[in-house]
């Protein structure tokens, strides 16, 4: 047997050696395959993100070259009430939408993890709103939340609850944007499904045979094992939130209204840059958005650690 294998492979090995002799070593070839990805990332994300930030110290309208103005943009920002309102709006949105979206995704994954007839259709139904194009989704909700003719208030009316005027009131508008985003949780849903599916059966059986009930098993075994995934989802959704409500603000809030209640930070950055051509000021606000994001992420991590949901406990 051994001889046969020797005879079989030896010529191939030789041929291979000759063939590879004339070309790059395999590992270098792998780096070549990586090249488009790395080049694309650098050109489109890494370098732009780094180049964009120094613009914060300039006056730049994208037509003439940037003029250095020091901390002028920062000073203006600190006295700009619309800017502070946009910080507040984004903060409210993160505080409400991110936890609710995560809970919704986890709940749906728990509900639809186990096989049953037609499970694919159920999962598909939960994912479906996520694939609807942003503009169509925003227009749809503008209609659903129409105070007089919209189905949501008509439904509330049938239950005897007077529906709010939604996009006319400041808080109604903020809640409306949070509400419409609660349907588009497909990504978190699928990630939770994958995470739950990877939990080894034996671990759970051990817990059950120790006399733990379902809630105790969930809190004591499932949640810690899922914690790293939930933490990544939490971070990702927080960052995503800062961009995801741009289209709703544009369509539902008709450009950030009423009274700037849906002027989230990306909206104000967009308006400053592309409507008033104040790229320097917009870059300064982008810094502020980074800072807010970092602050929220650190706070979230702190809370997660305190609840023993951090990475370390999951090991």
């Amino acid at each position: 047997m051994a001889d046969e294998i020797e005879i079989e492979t030896a010529p191939h090995r030789a041929a291979g050696a000759i063939a590879t002799h004339r070309r790059l070593p395999y590992r270098w070839q792998l780096w070549l395959l990586l090249l488009p990805y790395l080049a694309g990332l650098s050109m489109l994300v890494v370098i732009p993100a780094l180049v964009g930030l120094p613009l914060a110290f300039t006056d730049f309208n994208a037509l003439q070259s940037p003029a250095f103005t020091g901390l002028d943009n920062l000073a203006e920002m600190s006295g700009d009430s619309i800017f502070w309102k946009s910080v507040f709006n984004s903060g409210v949105y993160i505080a409400l939408a991110v936890p609710l979206r995560l809970l919704g995704a986890l709940a749906m994954a728990l509900l639809l993890l186990r096989a049953m007839r037609g499970i694919g259709a159920f999962r598909g139904a939960v994912y479906l709103p996520t694939v609807v194009p942003d503009v169509a989704w925003a227009l749809l909700w503008l209609w659903l939340l129409n105070p007089a003719f919209g189905p949501v208030n008509q439904l509330l009316g049938m239950l005897g609850i007077p529906g709010p005027a939604w996009m006319v009131e400041e808080w109604g508008a903020r809640y409306a944007v949070v509400l419409m985003m609660l349907w588009q949780i497909g990504e978190g849903f699928v990630v939770c499904l994958a995470g739950l599916g990877d939990i080894p059966r034996e671990v759970l059986e051990q817990s059950a045979s120790d006399g733990a009930n379902r809630w105790q098993t969930f809190r004591g075994v499932v949640l810690p094992l899922l914690a790293p995934i939930l933490l990544i989802l939490l971070f990702r959704d927080t960052i995503y939130s800062l961009q995801a409500n741009f289209v709703p603000a544009l369509i539902l809030g008709n450009g950030g209204g009423p009274n700037y209640a849906t002027t989230f930070m990306p909206m104000y950055i967009f308006t400053s840059a592309f409507e008033y051509l104040r790229f320097g000021y917009a870059a300064a606000m982008t810094w502020a958005m980074y800072a807010l994001t970092a602050l929220v992420l650190v706070a979230q991590y702190g809370v997660a650690r305190r609840w023993r949901l951090g990475f370390r406990d999951a090991e």
């Binding site: 291979g16 999962r123 598909g124 194009p133 349907w183 059966r201």
Partner: protein, 283 residues
């Protein structure tokens, strides 16, 4: 005695769960159902003050009206142009990168995974302005190719990671015989790795399709000419023209949503039904 995960319903124990699952599905589908129902209302019939699940007098008339008014013919061609270029390019770039990462030594792989996560965490808002300047410099401003550009980097590091995780599950000796035959990395990727990763390719293709088809911000930022705009922009034009004609707007919304739904229905099997169901949750 561990139960096998059930393929079939066991009444009445599963009854409650099925009811909850049905309620959840109905809740998630309700907005889309209202979109469809409203779009079928006959032109000129006033809106109802009562909740109406199906319009009294229905017609398809809003569809051609929305299509013509928003100039969706040209926009659909533009959207198709973007998707046809960007989706295959995304699959190729992302799978090449994911494959290479899965074959590299552990240290390089971890470093690249970390970089991918870091980029994933960068808000797109941060690159709006510099990309605008970059596209202006290289002459991509007001060009449809500006909408395809992100595909050059695999669109999202998330797609690369999906391919990486797929390829890591392939035992390394699968590639071994091909390499002994003197195949280079590119041939191993094309001949052995990619056929094994078909479900991942389908899933990434679907996600990329959704992203490019629905992209509203990029055309808004980088395009100027009306005739180059994609479908989401056409829908916004319709909104500006007929801001309170809800049946017409919903017809427009359905029109741009249907292609995504079709792609989703075809592709969803490959990424929604692969999860093993087991353990605590499988009992």
């Amino acid at each position: 005695m561990p139960n096998r995960p059930g393929r079939h319903l066991r009444w009445p124990r599963d009854g409650g769960r099925v009811l909850v699952a049905c309620a959840a599905a109905a809740l998630f589908l309700a907005p889309i159902a209202f979109m469809l129902m409203t779009s079928l209302r006959q032109i000129g019939v006033p809106l109802s003050r009562q909740l109406e699940l199906f319009p009294q007098s229905s017609s398809w008339g809003n569809y051609p009206a929305a299509f013509d008014l928003a100039g969706m013919g040209q926009s659909a061609l533009n959207s198709a142009f973007v998707v046809v270029l960007a989706v295959p390019l995304t699959i190729v770039v992302a799978s090449l990168a994911g494959f290479a990462m899965s074959q590299l030594p552990q240290r390089a792989r971890l470093a690249l995974t970390f970089i991918s996560f870091a980029v994933l965490m960068t808000p797109v808002t941060a690159v709006w302005l510099p990309r605008f300047v970059l596209f202006k410099e290289v002459g991509l401003l007001d060009s449809r190719l500006a909408l395809v550009a992100p595909a050059l980097g695999g669109t999202s590091p998330f797609f690369v990671l999906l391919f990486l995780w797929t390829f890591l599950r392939v035992p390394s000796d699968v590639y071994e015989s091909a390499r002994l035959d003197g195949a280079g990395a590119l041939r191993v990727w094309a001949g052995i790795a990619m056929p094994l990763a078909r479900p991942t390719s389908v899933a990434v293709g679907m996600l990329a399709f959704v992203a490019y088809w629905g992209n509203f911000i990029d055309p808004l930022l980088y395009l100027r000419s009306r005739e180059k705009m994609t479908l989401p922009y056409a829908l916004q034009v319709l909104f500006q023209l007929e801001a309170t004609n809800w049946p017409l707007l919903m017809a427009g919304a359905v029109l741009i949503t249907v292609p995504v739904l079709l792609v989703f229905v075809v592709a969803q099997r490959s990424f929604l039904q692969r999860f093993r169901e087991q353990g605590w949750l499988g009992r």
